[in-house]
């Protein structure tokens, strides 16, 4: 069953040029362009891309804090922009977010227990104090924190523990979708795996859908059922996690796969040859045609003509005129 569907979603921000006169039209920053995606109930979607590829903007559009400039966000088949006030409130409770910097996302002057109880207080104001405490304790146990720590302040916790608090906070309301915006990028590598595994387990146990955002494929591939690759606001490739990584059809996906560090130095040297060079172009003036062509090792003149649409290549869908035909080496 489709829980969330994005239809040609675009988000643009007006940006005033430096020194521009008030009557001059502002530049448009195209953060997200024509993205169509689906997330089924209970499914985990990994969203990957470099910094500035529009992942976080997409997340905020799904949550409803940034309006779509064009296209639609459909929640259980209903347009998010057209929800009634009551339904919108329910949507707020059904979709929860986990943040990148776990310590920054917690109020330093609020005990962890109160922080976790906050969503309850807002969305179920009738629950008694004892009831709230009980549910906070339950959810803390679920994420592997002792309920005894309820009255501690965030600075008394480590980064990994803070992220557990962040996850607990997202879970108290029993949401249907959790959007995790780079939930482990700020954590130590040794703690990352624990938090990723915890999220994976919780989401499966509770039947929650998850959008897991990361800039690093190696983090995403363990959690995700499907993976979507974004570049400069556009979807490059979407497909089931395993084939997408084993045999990427889009040159950009392949570059990301090859950017994953390899423990064996001899193989690493071979792989590094295919890496993409240079910086991501400005979203204020994206390249014509395929946005990736300026950095694509396989770019040809016809790539500049029109932005390619997603089309099936083997087991995934890729937006590329000249997809990689052969299965990747290794």
């Amino acid at each position: 069953m489709t829980l969330l569907r994005l239809e040609d979603l675009s988000v643009t921000f007006p940006v005033a040029r430096r020194g521009a006169w008030p009557w001059e039209a502002p530049d448009l920053l195209r953060a997200v362009t024509d993205v169509s995606l689906e997330v089924a109930a209970g499914e985990t979607l990994g969203l990957v891309g470099e910094s500035g590829s529009g992942k976080s903007t997409l997340a905020r559009a799904v949550i409803g804090t940034i309006p779509a400039s064009s296209g639609r966000v459909l929640w259980e088949g209903q347009d998010l922009a057209a929800l009634s006030a009551g339904r919108r409130r329910r949507h707020r409770a059904e979709v929860q977010m986990v943040f990148q910097d776990p310590l920054a996302a917690l109020n330093p002057r609020m005990t962890v227990g109160r922080a976790i109880a906050e969503p309850l207080q807002t969305h179920e104001p009738d629950a008694s104090r004892d009831e709230r405490r009980r549910r906070v304790g339950e959810v803390m146990e679920k994420v592997g924190l002792s309920p005894k720590l309820m009255d501690r302040y965030p600075h008394e916790f480590s980064g990994g523990q803070c992220q557990r608090v962040g996850i607990a906070r997202a879970l108290v309301l029993n949401p249907r979708l959790i959007v995790a915006d780079e939930p482990v990028s700020a954590l130590d590598v040794s703690v990352q795996a624990q938090v990723v595994n915890l999220m994976k387990r919780l989401v499966k146990d509770m039947g929650i859908s998850l959008i897991f955002i990361a800039h690093d494929l190696s983090v995403v591939r363990n959690v995700s059922d499907r993976i979507a690759v974004m570049y400069l606001g556009r979807l490059m490739e979407v497909g089931p996690a395993r084939p997408l990584i084993a045999a990427p059809a889009h040159p950009y996906t392949r570059a990301l796969v090859e950017a994953v560090p390899v423990p064996d130095p001899a193989r690493g040297a071979v792989r590094a040859a295919g890496l993409v060079e240079g910086d991501i172009p400005s979203p204020l003036s994206p390249p014509s045609g395929c946005v990736f062509r300026t950095r694509c090792p396989r770019a040809r003149p016809d790539c500049a003509d029109a932005p390619p649409a997603l089309r099936p290549v083997r087991e995934t869908e890729a937006a590329c005129i000249h997809p990689i035909a052969e299965a990747a080496h290794a």
């Binding site: 804090t65 707020r92 409770a93 910097d101 310590l103 996302a105 330093p108 609020m110 916790f157």
Partner: protein, 327 residues
């Protein structure tokens, strides 16, 4: 990770663990905290706190510890008038530590009662200014847009007048409104209102500035995503995080408010002679200065000086202690 010493070592995080098994009591935690530590190491702060403490206790316990009841006409003896300090009166043999005024009132006792009025007006005025300034500052910083513009422009305009002038103006208006028979009773409250209204601007400015910083922090966005109302975000999330600079300003403001009260009373528009504050006492004492009765002016003035200086020094210490850049 603001303070690496607070991160517990946790190599095996998969197991639930406590940062530390036992938690010290709240008082113990405050005593061991950074603030208490810097307090114990600052001789200036210790002395200033001692002076303030003695004065507050003296004011609070005035009816118990004052040697005479200076505002009970029945207890006054005109033969005691103008007794110099540190000597017994030559007619009655009564001893007055700080001497007496022309009515035979004990100056020490009038100071103790005067301190009550001065401290009460000062504290209440600062509380009033805080309430007003914090609310308006939070609102201006959080709402932004024209709300911000209106509030801060009003504040700017008010800053262009000397605050004592603003207080005088408010005092004058209040005098016009309050009927004559209530004027003496209302004088104290009008003082509080006048000083408080002339002093809210700095609270508003500081709170607005801090709110602008906090507003963009991720925890505020998180609270907004959770669906908390603007009021809850302002008062439950942002307010606790902007209070430490407010504490510093409140302390320094208290010294200023006490001086402002004394100034107004000295000018004759503050506390009435029936309920004299330190400022009123100084005004009365001034009449005797040139005829040689210096003590009627000297002791109230020194008390005011010591009080204002001590509160100010405490404020300075607090500012340094709370500002990590100076530590």
């Amino acid at each position: 990770m603001t303070d690496p010493t607070h991160i517990p070592a946790d190599p095996h995080e998969e197991t639930p663990l406590a940062p530390s098994a036992h938690r010290p009591s709240r008082w113990r935690a405050v005593w061991d905290g950074d603030l208490a530590w810097s307090f114990r190491r600052s001789p200036v702060a210790l002395v200033a706190a001692l002076v303030v403490l003695v004065m507050v206790l003296g004011a609070a316990l005035a009816p118990l510890i004052a040697p005479y009841t200076p505002f009970d006409p029945a207890s006054l003896n005109l033969f005691n008038g103008i007794t110099p300090p540190f000597t017994a009166n030559e007619f009655t043999g009564d001893y007055f530590l700080f001497g007496t005024d022309d009515q035979g009132r004990d100056v020490l006792s009038t100071i103790l009662y005067g301190l009550r009025i001065s401290l009460f007006v000062g504290v209440m005025a600062v509380l009033f200014a805080m309430l007003l300034g914090i609310t308006l500052g939070l609102l201006a910083g959080y709402a932004g847009g024209w709300t911000d513009t209106v509030i801060m422009r009003v504040a700017d305009v008010q800053l262009t007048f000397p605050s004592i002038l603003v207080a005088l103006l408010i005092f004058g208006v209040a005098r016009g409104i309050v009927p004559i028979e209530h004027r003496a009773d209302m004088a104290i409250w009008v003082l509080i209102l006048a000083i408080g209204l002339s002093d809210w601007v700095q609270f508003a400015r500081v709170v607005r500035g801090a709110t602008l910083v906090q507003k963009d922090r991720e925890y505020v966005q998180a609270a907004r995503l959770i669906g908390r109302s603007n009021g809850a975000i302002m008062f439950r999330h942002i307010l606790p995080n902007v209070l430490s600079p407010v504490l510093v300003i409140a302390t320094i403001s208290l010294a200023l408010a006490i001086i402002a009260e004394a100034t107004l009373s000295f000018l004759g528009v503050g506390a009435p002679p029936t309920q004299p504050s330190l400022g009123t006492l100084i005004r009365i004492g001034q009449d005797f200065l040139f005829s040689g009765e210096w003590w009627i002016l000297f002791f109230p003035a020194m008390t005011l000086l010591a009080l204002a200086l001590s509160v100010n020094l405490l404020g300075d210490w607090l500012r340094d202690a709370l500002n990590p850049r100076l530590r």
